[in-house]
């Protein structure tokens, strides 16, 4: 290789690297990190990113150089030089990638080790998922549909599922784990920025998968403490509360149904504002209709809705008294 060709090759590599770097730097890739774990995660992503840019620049430069420099001259039918291989080159381009991937592996292993540490006395919150809603159970036994977290404290989320596999992902938290029926999985987060963050289900879990969302709110620790002490919302269905509205909230009805009185606007299931109309169509008395629709959802389907969408688990997960008050609440507040 002549000096000129090395220079050209280098120039191509610089150009390719510069373009890729520009894409990497100027296009917003990642949400702003909101946890300590996400900071480490972003570090490992950028570490791999820089290596990827270098590798891509080298390959692209060689490719472009070949395409530009070695194109056949018109009328030339001769063969190129019959080089069959070069053992030293093979060793080099086996060894260098090996070193690179081991480096990435080590960085990744350190990150995962640090991110798995919950420290002493973490705040443990149980995340119970079902089609298509999240419930967050706090140490005091109260359950909410929105996750409130204190800033700068280690939080351990224990995930479980009542039906199919779901997932818990807050992009800005840099952590994601599946909620698998039958086992408990967990992740640790330490929020560092206050604000509102979307919680997203990423595992295909049925018809309402795209709408299975919730919200995480990170509060200053003083605000969190006062909220936690007053425990704004009502106790969980699971914990035995029987007030109609709180059963509605805790059972996650609002995730799928429109219900003006309950302040929910889910679009997976039929609108609960139309319950009287639907009951008339089904030819049943309103209260009986509501009750059977909860315990046995496939017997009557509102027009345009398919069988098997609404979970049939409420029969067992809501107690008799809770069901009574839920039915009453819905009957009284539907339009």
């Amino acid at each position: 290789m002549t000096r000129g060709s090395i220079f050209k090759l280098f120039a191509y590599a610089v150009v390719a690297g510069a373009i890729t770097t520009a894409v990497a730097v100027f296009i917003p890739w990642l949400p702003t990190a909101a946890t300590r774990q996400a900071d480490r995660m972003w570090f490992s992503i950028w570490f791999a990113e820089i290596i990827a840019i270098v590798v891509f620049a080298v390959v692209a430069a060689a490719l472009i150089y070949c395409v530009v420099e070695f194109r056949v001259k018109p009328g030339d039918t001769s063969d190129g030089p019959p080089t069959h291989g070069h053992t030293m080159l093979e060793i080099i381009w086996t060894a260098i990638p090996t070193v690179i991937v081991i480096a990435i592996t080590i960085v990744a292993a350190i990150v995962i080790h640090d991110n798995g540490k919950a420290g002493t006395n973490p705040l443990v919150i149980k995340v119970v998922t079902q089609q298509f809603t999240y419930q967050f159970e706090y140490p005091n036994g109260k359950t909410f549909n929105i996750l409130r977290l204190p800033k700068d404290r280690n939080v351990k989320l224990d995930l479980s599922s009542k039906d199919v596999i779901h997932s818990f992902w807050v992009p800005a938290f840099g952590q994601k784990t599946d909620a698998v029926p039958g086992i408990t999985t967990s992740i640790v987060i330490t929020p560092t920025r206050t604000g509102y963050y979307p919680i997203i289900c990423t595992q295909l879990c049925g018809l309402g998968h795209a709408l299975m969302r919730s919200e995480a709110i990170v509060l200053e620790s003083t605000e969190y403490d006062s909220w936690y002490a007053s425990a704004g919302e009502a106790p969980a269905a699971a914990a035995g509360g029987t007030d109609g509205k709180s059963v509605y909230t805790a059972a996650g009805c609002g995730a799928c149904h429109v219900f003006t009185a309950g302040g929910s606007a889910g679009t997976i299931g039929s609108s609960l504002d139309n319950l009287s109309v639907d009951a008339a169509k089904a030819g049943e008395e309103l209260n009986d209709f509501i009750r059977s629709s909860i315990t046995d959802p496939d017997t009557f389907l509102a027009p345009g809705y398919a069988k098997g969408v609404m979970p049939s688990t409420y029969k067992s997960s809501i107690s008799g008294a809770q069901l009574d008050s839920l039915v009453q609440y819905l009957a009284e507040n539907t339009k």
Binding site: V72, T83, G85, L89, E90, T105, D163, G174, V180, G308
Partner: protein, 552 residues
């Protein structure tokens, strides 16, 4: 088998008919000729490719703007499931089998496959499996809705109707078809090579098909087992995967991905084999590092059996296990890199001509490098925790399966078309096809990386308005329709050149491998006579000998 060797050639000619291509429909229905079976495979898969492509366009239309109502959520899940399953099981795997069928006996100098009737059986099973799979759209409650991975318990306890059962049955038939075909490939390559065709003289595509077939034999039964358990859970009340009765949903993922990840390499290794055939021909050089490329094929296949759980990083496996699978997944990047470097070294100082097959091959190197690099991110399991099940994965898998496998398939189609049909495809239309697909492909899938990083999960039929998501999604949809236009150019090319295409000589590209030694298209018995094979480029020897004789 022994009796066949005794056939007098004229008897063989009588059996095959004097002009095997001037056949009626029955001649194609009853054929056991590897070339015809190969062409049946290729035509059928191209048909399924059109079906899968239309399904993809439906999804991109639905996602073009937020809160679109083009598809319902139920039909969206059906479309995404059948799109993925079709592209993997009805397009890429069988079209590579189609290339293998057509080429393997020609490349190793055999008269046919080792078991010609089994070969026909594997094609007809493939067609049947495809029909069963697609007919699930007409099942009660529509087609399967669990994605191509069809995770339990969603697809066992929470999926009414029979679409999922059709899906299972279709895949069962397809896996038997592939298994039969794979055994046939291995035995053919092992037993039927012509004299002098040693293991270091077979074309690299043969190495790739051999490895592909071995992987299929090893991992396909696992898929069959997993599907059987799923079917029993659905229809017979067993509890393999039901945690309430002592089963485990994680078991399904282990079984599925032990098949599923090697499946990725089943789809890419023969594609790399095609690239390894084309690049030396158009660079007019021998492949650089034949042994390194061949061994890296085997190396990738070996490691691919040890990496399955990197699809399960987010299911709470022990950290030690995760770390093992991270390391083994990372290691696969090394033999893959070796291949790319050897292709670049083959290009180096060559006399490169840019015919359409070469353009697709160069496009393959560029795009596949990007896909391979984004794979590194998914192999590192903390990063995977952020990226898995997002659009980043969608982008990555299309970069390796579309930008990888399908680019190589088109390279192969343009390259071997003259051998298959005796006419060349049009170069100008071919280049237009390549340009449209290359641009459309990157416009479609590059923004999907950003979508995934910013928080768009995969397999969603809608998303909330606002922000840069909308821009990326519109760009992506535009790109997908650009690709579709490119594919129409290909169809046009095929139609036009079917009558008026330039006739091909035996060896229009001045290639080096044995399939170019016979006529285009080859006769039923493939070769009238064969040279003794003394190196990996037999045709170059023949050309040089002819050259020398001319100057005498």
């Amino acid at each position: 088998m022994a009796s066949k060797a005794n056939h007098h050639p004229s008897a063989a000619r009588q059996r095959f008919g004097s002009d095997w291509r001037a056949g009626r429909i029955t001649a194609w229905l009853t054929t056991v000729d590897h070339k015809r079976v190969g062409l049946l495979y290729i035509w059928t898969t191209l048909g399924f490719f059109a079906v899968g492509g239309v399904l993809a366009l439906l999804m991109r239309a639905q996602l073009a703007t937020p809160n679109e109502n083009f598809l319902t959520r139920g039909s969206y899940n059906q479309v995404l499931t059948i799109h993925g399953t079709t592209m993997i099981f009805l397009v890429i795997v069988p079209i590579l089998a189609g290339f293998g069928n057509f080429l393997v006996p020609l490349m190793i100098g055999a008269r046919d496959m080792a078991f010609p009737r089994l070969n026909a059986l594997s094609y007809w099973l493939f067609l049947l499996g495809g029909i069963v799979l697609l007919s699930s759209f007409w099942a009660g409650h529509g087609a399967a809705q669990g994605g191509w991975t069809s995770y339990v318990p969603l697809s066992t306890l929470h999926m009414p109707g029979h679409g999922e059962d059709f899906w299972i049955l279709g895949l069962h038939i397809l896996s038997i078809s592939s298994l039969v075909g794979a055994i046939n490939f291995i035995v053919t390559i092992h037993n039927m090579r012509t004299s002098g065709m040693t293991w270091t003289r077979i074309p690299l595509f043969i190495w790739a098909i051999l490895t592909y077939a071995w992987l299929l034999v090893i991992v396909l039964p696992t898929l069959s087992a997993g599907l059987t358990m799923m079917l029993l859970d659905r229809q017979w009340g067993t509890h393999f995967f039901d945690p309430v009765h002592g089963g485990s949903p994680i078991l399904y993922q282990h079984v599925f991905w032990f098949f599923g990840h090697p499946e990725v390499y089943i789809m890419i290794l023969p594609a790399m084999g095609i690239i390894s055939e084309i690049i030396p021909v158009f660079a007019r050089k021998p492949i650089f590092g034949y042994k390194a490329v061949a061994y890296s094929t085997v190396g990738i296949a070996f490691f691919s059996l040890l990496v399955w759980a990197h699809h399960m990083f987010s299911t709470g496996l022990p950290v030690g296990l995760d770390s093992f699978f991270m390391l083994s997944s990372m290691v696969i990047a090394v033999p893959t890199g070796v291949k790319i470097f050897n292709w670049l070294a083959t290009l180096w100082r060559g006399n490169i001509s840019f015919d359409t097959p070469m353009l697709w091959s160069l496009g393959f190197i560029g795009v596949f490098t990007l896909g391979g690099l984004s794979g590194i991110f998914l192999a590192a399991f903390p990063i995977d925790w952020q990226l898995t099940d997002t659009y980043f994965v969608v982008a990555h898998l299309h970069y390796v399966l579309f930008g990888g496998s399908m680019f190589a398939v088109f390279a192969g189609l343009y390259y071997w078309w003259p051998k298959m049909f005796g006419r060349l495809l049009d170069e100008r239309l071919g280049k237009l096809h390549f340009a449209l697909v290359l641009i459309g492909f990157n416009v479609t899938f590059l923004p999907q990386h950003f979508l995934g990083l910013l928080g768009m999960p995969r397999r969603v039929y809608t998303y909330r308005p606002g922000g840069i998501w909308e821009v990326y999604n519109v760009i992506s949809t535009v790109g997908s329709f650009l690709m579709a236009v490119g594919m129409l150019v290909f169809v046009l090319n095929v139609v036009i050149t079917a009558r008026s295409g330039r006739r091909a000589s035996n060896d229009p590209w001045l290639a080096d491998t044995l399939e170019w030694y016979t006529t285009s298209p080859p006769p039923a018995w493939n070769f009238d006579r064969l040279p003794y094979i003394s190196n990996a480029r037999p045709l170059r020897d023949v050309r040089r000998r002819l050259e020398a004789e001319r100057w005498k």
